[in-house]
Amino acid sequence: MSQDLMRYAARMDLSKMGAIMPRRMAHIAQGAPVPPKLDYAANLTAKALHPKCQKLLVAEVIEREGGAKSFVLRAQEGGELARFRAGQFLSFSLAIGGSTITRAYSLCCPPSWAKQGKYMITVKPSEDGFAGNWICANWHEGTQVTASAPLGEFSYTRLRDARHILGVCGGSGVTPFCAMACAIAEGSEDYSLTLLYGSRDSDSILLGEELAALAQRCERFTLVNVLERGGGDESGYITTELIKKYMPEGDCSLFVCGPAAMMQAMETAIAPLGLPERRIRRKTYGVTEAALEADWPQEAAGKTFSLTVKMRDQTYTVPCASGETVLVAMERAGLEPPSRCRSGECGWCRSRLSAGTVYIPARTEHRRKADLAYGYIHPCCSFPTSDLTLCVGCE
């Protein structure tokens, strides 16, 4: 074989080896002696769609039902804003007292607004306590604010979802649906939406007038106000029967969004429908509270633990109450840990728990498998059950 192989191999020119470097040098000599180009269409588009942060200012404040306010935001420097899909949110960075915290608010305007350089969010003070109250009291025309790029996965996706969405929401959970209705009405998205919207009474329907007007002029958007105290399209609560009543013929995707307590009630209402998992999308609104979770270890109640935080080459020790998340404890102490969605999904706050134990509600468990295996947590949805040591943004 060896002799035979040599006969074949000999046809490859051994002397070509010596030509490699001269050939390489000749090619290199032809290159331009300038810094290489980096601004191709893909790079520019990536930058426009996903800016690191967006410097905005409040252009208009609109009073809404029950003390809520809508804020129209524009780029401080003018020009276009990052595009979004109806249902996405912005994470705002807020300096309140000595703390810097983040809060996520869904965009509730037509997607075409981004190209025109504006966004709108709606904040209901009572529902999001601390931050919501502060925003409604402190944001005025001209206030400068810092937001993330549009984020989140609670959006219609043509290749995945049914062409008809049955939306179920309560309270601020209406805001992503408001954007979807706007998108359908302006023709930028192509599906139908039937919205079962639960409110207490006719005076507390957040964005009620806007939605009614959209339903009036847009055939593919149907609004069903479900009022606890009666007087709406339906009375009482959103039940299995009510969902069945409005469920469209044929294929349909169920999108559910609301505060944690409502989401728990909705799970019970949805279960008998027998929908496949791919036809259900969920988004929980508002603050995660340990006391609301059925399996929260009660023995931790009322305790305050010690939290040691390592951030790069600095170490801090701060108190951490059992009922608040590890993220809130860090923010309260004036630290600025990274966070975005505050619901366990985006993983932006991922940190290594090097000592101690935490409680993580099952419905907020979205960690990667390797993170479970190597002891990383999402502080935005983790509650202390012992003293902790956490490495934030570093190893």
């Binding site: 074989m1 060896s2 035979d4 192989l5 074949y8 191999a9 046809r11 490859m12 020119d13 051994l14 070509k16 080896m17 030509a19 470097m21 050939r23 390489r24 000749a26 090619h27 290199i28 000599a29 032809q30 290159g31 331009a32 002696p33 810094p35 290489p36 980096l38 191709y40 269409a41 893909a42 790079n43 588009t45 990536a46 930058k47 426009a48 769609l49 276009e80 595009r83 190209k115 043509r158 290749l159 995945r160 496949p276 998992e277 790069r312 080459d313 990274p338 999904e345 993983g347 932006w348 979205h366 960690r367 990667r368 498998k369 390797a370 295996a373 190597y374 943004g393 570093c394 190893e395």
Partner: protein
């Protein structure tokens, strides 16, 4: 002093993580900086609903069937990375979906491959023996080179390992021609070149044979917790060896002083000193953004501009709500190509219009518990060798990516006879824009630089000795001498670390 290190590594991708492990294990004060909030670069994963998707790893060669085999397996062992590897049962599987349909599937092992080739191409088995004999010669030559620690006696090498030199300076097509391989066997073997998006008339035979031989002879593997499990394990090893790792930490400048590297400046303005900086990022980004052009050798600028960008990727990540077998899938991996000819596949690969070729990977076929029982994870990946997204804007982006994803899905359904559209529970589509976002590379290139004939493995290796950048500046990653992919990036990180350590022991940088 907190703001001073022996070595700073910029980028915690595969090359950066391995370099961080190697340098800190040797006792050097090492700082690894990563702009993202996670380690791994491309070796990452993301969660959607019930599914955790792999970002990039399809096949990992050189980890061997057990824990003990292969260069990469040895590296993992050296750094205490203990993850589970699942062998991939096929060495190659492709379907030609064109005017002349064809399917080829071979198991792992030279005999299995020869049998499969002989069945479709009489005489292939004998010719394939010449190919594997040359692979063995190549490996012997490489072993001799490595035994000589990079300083071989050229005359002795040419005398004792002439075939090594021949393969190192020939293209794949020249090698096929010399070995008189039957045409169909050439076409079959050429499909391996698609792992590098490689043109067989241009890429060097040596690199191609190393990869092809490892896929055929040893087989490749998948790992249990996605490649992010490997990245997390490596980051933890580096930490245990004393390496500091800072995430969310973007470097805005590589500083020089008197013509040599003096440290880095972070985007918040903080400066950290080190006389050695290893860049696990493309030279394009270093020379285009981080280094003062006045401090950059003109030849390095010329070289960056003379090179051709490596492949750009488009991937559809699917979480499906049925078992893969129930949907009609039969294999872990399938290439679907419009032609059996490498030249035509490469020609088509420049634009969205002409390129509909893809690889289909069914993760659960190799990693059974990759997703919950009764579901599966499927990836459809297309590679482009041109700027296929040159027409993209923020306003047409969603439409372009969904239309192309739909085209790939429809073709995969038709060619494989499977049902995808009715079972999509989660879908994520990554495009060159996505890779541009996370990697920052020009056009979102994921494979560094194209291994053109003048810029192949041997050429880059020889160039590494001759081409000097700023003293104290080093590179590691998929743009290196071993070309792109997981194993080459890992090895590149290791080789660079050895070089840094060697130069530190020997005094000033080369």
């Amino acid at each position: 002093m907190a703001d001073s290190y022996d070595v700073i590594i910029v980028g915690a991708g595969n090359g950066g993580l391995i370099a961080a492990c190697a340098l800190s294990q040797m006792g050097l004060r090492t700082l690894l900086l990563e702009k993202h909030n996670l380690p791994g670069g491309c070796a990452a994963s993301f969660v959607r609903g019930r599914f955790e998707f792999e970002a990039s790893l399809h096949n990992l060669p050189y980890v061997g069937p057990g824990a003990e085999n292969g260069d990469i397996g040895m590296l993992f062992k050296r750094f205490g990375v203990e993850r589970k590897f699942y062998p991939i049962p096929e060495s190659l599987h492709f379907i030609v979906d064109g005017p002349e349909p064809f399917e080829f599937k071979a198991g792992v092992g030279r005999e299995a491959f020869a049998r499969a080739a002989e069945a479709v191409c009489p005489g292939a088995a004998e010719a394939f023996e010449r190919f594997t004999a040359m692979c063995d010669d190549l490996n012997r030559g490489l072993a001799a080179l490595s035994a000589a620690r990079g300083r071989p006696d050229p005359d002795a090498m040419a005398r004792e390992h002439p075939n090594y030199y021949r393969l190192a300076s020939s293209t794949v097509d020249e090698m096929f021609e010399a070995l008189e391989l039957p045409e169909l066997l050439r076409d079959i073997l050429s499909v391996f070149a698609l792992y590098q998006c490689g043109d067989t008339s241009k890429i060097d035979a040596a690199r191609f044979m190393l990869m092809t031989d490892s896929f055929i002879t040893e087989g490749a593997s998948q790992t249990d917790l996605r490649s992010f499990g490997l990245s997390t394990a490596l980051a933890n090893s580096a930490r245990r060896f004393g390496c500091d790792i800072w995430y969310n930490c973007e470097v805005s400048k590589i500083c020089t002083d008197g013509g040599a590297v003096s440290g880095v400046q972070l985007s918040d303005g903080r400066k950290i000193c080190a006389k050695r900086v290893v860049c696990n990022i493309m030279p394009h980004l270093v020379y285009g953004r981080l280094l003062d052009p006045a401090a950059t050798p003109v030849m390095e600028l010329k070289k960056a501009n003379a090179r051709t960008l490596g492949a750009r990727a488009f991937c559809v990540f699917l979480g499906l709500d049925r078992d893969w077998r129930e949907l009609g899938f039969r294999d872990y991996a399938t290439f679907i190509n419009s032609s059996i000819k490498n030249a035509e596949i490469i020609r088509n690969g420049g634009s969205r219009e002409s390129n509909g070729d893809m690889s289909v990977n069914v993760l659960n076929a190799v990693v059974p518990d990759a997703s919950p029982a009764g579901t599966c994870i499927v990836y459809l990946t297309a590679m482009f060798n041109g700027d296929a997204f040159a027409d993209v804007t923020p306003d047409n982006y969603t439409e372009i990516k969904e239309a192309y994803a739909e085209r790939l899905i429809a073709r995969a359904e038709r060619v494989l006879g499977v049902d995808i559209r009715n079972h999509i529970e989660e879908i994520v589509i990554s495009t060159p824009v996505t890779y541009a976002r996370y990697l920052g590379t020009p056009q979102g290139a994921v494979f560094g630089y194209s291994p053109e004939d003048w810029d192949g493995m041997m050429s880059r290796n020889m160039g590494e000795q001759a081409e000097k950048t700023v003293p104290g500046l080093y590179f590691a990653g998929g743009h290196g001498a071993r070309l792109s992919g997981f194993s080459p990036s890992y090895m590149s990180g290791f080789m660079t670390a050895m070089r840094v350590a060697g130069e530190m022991r020997g005094g000033a940088p080369a």
